[in-house]
């Protein structure tokens, strides 16, 4: 086990801790936008873990997975924000 492998494992451990902290905000978050941005940070953490794991296992295909991962995370965030705005406008129409 070289020094580089140990550094990669330490990086994965640090990112795992940050994922747990992100999930704390996801379960605690008082409003829906808090949960949306915590999901965003969660997917970025997953992307970083995938990149480091591709170094550890010498498999270049995991970088493609990371690219698709960031794309899907962006679409999810946009969809949730759009849903929030639409729900608000619908409730306003019901009030009138």
């Amino acid at each position: 086990m070289s020094l580089f492998t140990i550094a990669a494992y330490i990086a994965i451990a640090i990112i795992s801790i940050s994922t747990i902290l992100t999930l704390v905000r996801f379960f605690k978050g008082p409003s829906l936008p808090d949960r949306i941005i915590s999901l965003d940070v969660f997917s970025a953490n997953l992307l970083a873990v995938l990149a480091i794991y591709s170094v550890l296992s010498e498999e270049k295909a995991y970088l493609n997975v990371a690219l698709i991962m960031s794309l899907i995370a962006f679409v999810g965030t946009m969809t949730f924000a759009y849903y929030l705005v639409q729900k608000r406008e619908k409730s306003k129409n019901y009030d009138q």
């Binding site: 953490n45 690219l67 729900k87």
Partner: protein, 134 residues
């Protein structure tokens, strides 16, 4: 050897920035402050980690792929942050009380005054028509 050294340093630095972003997510008091902290630190962390991966592989095609991922993230991170904050303002997620931001309140008061003016005008016109009918 020197490749591995730089790669390990970049990956460790990037993961520490991710950790800082998550600590900010937990500790900060307000949605808007949390949004700003998470967006900036996460973008820098992913940049550093992907640079470390590219330095380890030392391959042109891998660098092109990493450039694609980074371009995409640099495009979408401010966009997503702006749209989610806009949705939060529209759905009236509260500000922290120490922010001291009164522009939104003033704007809402102006809109309320406008609405009151409009409703008064409608009400008076309806009263006029009802009086004419009587």
């Amino acid at each position: 050897m020197i490749n591995d050294l730089f790669s390990a340093a970049f990956m460790l630095g990037g993961s520490i920035f991710m950790l800082i972003a998550s600590i900010g997510m937990v500790k900060f008091p307000d949605f808007y402050i949390r949004n700003s902290a998470s967006t900036k630190a996460v973008v820098l962390g992913v940049l550093l980690i992907l640079l470390g991966v590219g330095i380890h592989y030392n391959d042109t095609m891998i660098f092109i792929e990493i450039f694609a991922i980074l371009l995409f993230i640099f495009l979408i991170a401010p966009l997503a942050a702006h749209i989610v904050s806009r949705a939060a303002v529209i759905t009236e997620v509260g500000f922290w009380e120490k922010t001291g931001l009164s522009e939104l309140e003033d704007y809402k008061k102006e809109q309320d005054k406008e609405a009151i003016r409009n409703t008064k005008w409608f009400a008076t016109s309806e009263q006029d028509t009802s009086q004419r009918k009587c």
